[in-house]
Each structure stands twice: as structure tokens, then as C-alpha cells.
Subunit: 244 residues, 2 copies
């Protein structure tokens, strides 16, 4: 299934008001960790899968990437991304991640932020990205953590006073569809185990370089005490892998 | 801390009655997965860290390993291990995992089953094992899964009828000591995140070859329906890594 929730006007409106939409990368609690996993971007050809508003594409150019291609399935997202830059070295293409098709070794770096848990066949993404990358090229991405996606409810277990008692995990080994709710809309995600993410990369010919289960940066924790719960269970999984 | 719970007579007595103690490897729900991650053992020199009763040491010799060294801190365990074999190619040594000291490249394969969550400094184990291994040698081990060790209670969250509602996760990002209970005794474990296990291996010079968050084998599930809950949350984490 190729989901395109962001072209639903009500959903898009709500997403546009999230801190990470208005405040950009530094408003995203995990950005400091993802950035640290990027390789040197100077003079590199970068592909961003699920580029959204294009924050990461513009960041790559600030880091002197030679060129950047951002793909996204949502016309709304791409329209906003195009409004936000006139950089001729950034190209936005409308495309589902499932349909990406580029030349062999067309890119040096492939990045993706919080998109692959919407994609059914992660192992195909890995095979394609491996083909599009130059030898030694890097694949760096974040997804919702399997501890976070295991139960479709994606919510804390609460006590009688509404306090967050703990994060419930169940059905961890049952990979596949999760019908869950995001910004009041029903969205479809795919749960996979940590082992499946890593083994798919290894099987496709990648070497795992780094993992992260990030906590929000200290500055963000100081400004937003409600983010402290993000240290209680892993919400994101980030992986950096290199093409052997 | 170097814990030696197995030389506490009451604890040892109870441990000796567990299915995995009386029935051996095939009674352990995760054995079929760990075995699948082993490299070829024929003619290899094998080290087993936390060898207990020596089941894995004897298995390695059945697979024609050239020699096997099993180390364990417990005299009780080693006495039983020695009773169970007269194979001159198996040598048991009493030693804490924290104190292991062997020659450079003395082994081709290092294995460990459910021992490292008792060890405080996993990164030191990785550095030592890397030194003891030949280039291309393999390090294959299982630990209690971070989802399992995050909360010291290590128990399900129950409903009013005593039903297992889900597995609670909390304090995931707070690595370190967990005072928990095993077979009615207090034992000390160390919680680490999945990322920490993998990054420690990578930093020590290993390449990750395979991960597993195993479910019990189908035959065991058929024989022991109570094992079905083992598919609801990951209890074990297994990693195979090769010295680059």
C-alpha cells in the first residue's frame, strides 16, 4: 500500500502546525542524533526518501552537498518544500518510496527521516538503495522504534490519576500492519523487529556503522519538560550503514 | 561486581532443576536460533564465556571443534561440567568473565549464552574478545533483551484476573544496575540498550553479521503452550559479529 495521508487537507493542516513543521530540524528531539550519524556531505550527491517539507534537503546543501534529490508522495509536502528554496541543486520529485528508481551508483548518501515504518517491504528499499549508492556510500535513516510500533495503540499505560505508568509492549514478534492514529486520523504503519531492520540491511550488502535509540537533546529537555518521558522508552531507531 | 550466585547452594539447587539444566540445549527455547548463528566449528578453537554446565562446550566438540575452553566463575557449575565429560579437548577454567586473559588470536570462535547481562562493562569484554580472536573469527552470544531488562521487576503487567495484559517498559534509556529476582534470590543485572550492545561491538572492531530476537521453536511451542507468551515481547537478544 502506498499511503498518502499528507494530501488529505485536514491531516496536512494539523501536521503543518506540529513543532517539527514550524520550527524545523532543531524542534525535532532526535535531530541532534541523526545529524551526528550523517557522513561528510560536502560534494556528495544526496537522496532523501520521504523528504516532506525539505528540511533535510536544505540542510544537506548548507553542508555543501553537490546536489540533492528529495522524493515524497505528497503533492502538498512538495509544494511547501519548493516554496522554501530556490536552490537549483535541490530537485524535488513526486514519487512513492516503493517506486523509487534511479541509476546504479547515482548517489553517495541516502537519508530518510521517519518514513520507512509506512513502507511494507523494507528489504526492497534496502536492495534498491544499495544499488543506487556508490561503493562506500552511506544510508542513514530513522524510523519509529519497534518498541513504539508493536502495539497499534502507540500510547502509554495510564494509572487511575491519568499518570503514565509505563510503556506497554505486546505482539512484538508479529510483524506487519498496524492501524494506528496520528493527529486524529487513521494511518497505516508496518511493525518490524529491530532484528529485521538490521538483517535486511546486512542481507542487502550493507555494513552497520552505528545505531541510535536517541533521547532528546539536553537543551530541549530543559525547555520542554514533557519530553522527559522520551527517556522512558525508545521512540525512534536510527541506523547508519555503509555499502560494502 | 563479579557475581557468583551459582555457588550459593539454595540458588544452585533451584537452577539445577530448571528445564534447561536437566534437558540441556534442546529444552532452551532459544537454542535453535543461537545454533543457527554459530559459524562452522570444525577444527576451530572455541572459547565459551560463562559456560555453566558445559552444554555448549560439549556441543562444539560434537561439531568437531579442535579444542574448547569453558570459563565460569562458579565452582559448582564447573564441577558439574567436568563430571559430564572426559573429553581431553575440553578444558574448564574458573574465572570471572571480567578477568579473562588469553593470548592474542588464541581462539577462532568465542561464544556466550545469557551471561553478559551480569557483566558491568560490556565494552571491555568486546575489546578483550576482539584481541583473543583470529582475524575473521566470530563472536556469537545471547543476552537478556533490553526490553526485558529495562524494568527491574522483569514481569508482565497483569489484569484483575491475573491475566498477562502486556509487557511493561520503562527507564529504557537509564543504563546500569538492576536489582532483580531469579529463582527466589536477588541477583544483580546490568541493563544496556540495543544500541549500546551493537555500538560497543562496532567500536571494538567487529562487523555485525546477524541479529536475532528469537521466538521458541515451533516444536517447543506445541509441547509447551505457556511458551506462547515468548512471542509477545523479546526476551533474548542474540548477536553474531565477526572480527574485521
Amino acid at each position: 500500500m502506498k499511503q498518502n495521508k499528507y494530501d488529505d487537507p485536514g491531516f496536512f493542516e494539523k501536521y503543518s502546525q506540529m513543532p517539527r513543521s514550524t520550527g524545523g530540524l532543531n524542534a525535532a528531539g532526535e535531530w541532534h542524533e541523526l545529524r551526528a550519524m550523517f557522513p561528510e556531505l560536502r560534494d556528495r550527491r544526496v537522496l532523501d526518501l520521504g523528504c516532506g517539507f525539505g528540511w533535510h534537503c536544505r540542510y544537506a546543501r548548507q553542508q555543501h552537498a553537490r546536489s540533492v534529490v528529495g522524493v515524497d508522495i505528497s503533492e502538498n509536502m512538495l509544494a511547501r518544500a519548493r516554496e522554501n528554496t530556490d536552490d537549483p541543486a535541490i530537485e524535488y520529485r513526486r514519487m512513492a518510496i516503493e517506486d523509487i528508481d534511479f541509476a546504479e551508483q547515482e548517489f553517495d548518501v541516502v537519508i530518510s527521516s521517519l518514513a520507512f515504518h509506512y513502507v511494507e517491504r523494507f528489504e526492497e528499499v534496502c536492495r534498491k538503495v544499495h544499488r543506487f549508492l556508490t561503493p562506500g556510500g552511506s544510508f542513514v535513516f530513522s524510523v519509529e522504534h519497534p518498541v513504539f510500533t508493536a502495539l497499534a495503540a502507540q500510547d502509554w499505560h495510564y494509572g487511575p490519576q491519568g499518570e503514565r505508568l509505563h510503556w506497554p509492549v505486546d505482539n512484538y514478534q508479529s510483524e506487519g500492519l498496524r492501524h494506528t492514529s496520528f493527529l486524529g486520523s487513521e494511518v497505516t504503519k508496518y511493525h518490524r523487529t529491530v532484528a529485521t531492520y538490521l538483517n535486511a540491511l546486512i542481507d542487502a550488502g550493507f555494513r552497520i556503522r552505528r545505531l541510535s535509540e536517541p533521547q532528546p537533546a539536553q537543551e530541549l529537555l530543559a525547555q520542554h519538560p514533557e519530553m522527559r518521558d522520551e527517556t522512558r522508552r525508545p521512540m525512534f531507531l536510527m541506523i547508519a550503514a555503509d555499502k560494502i
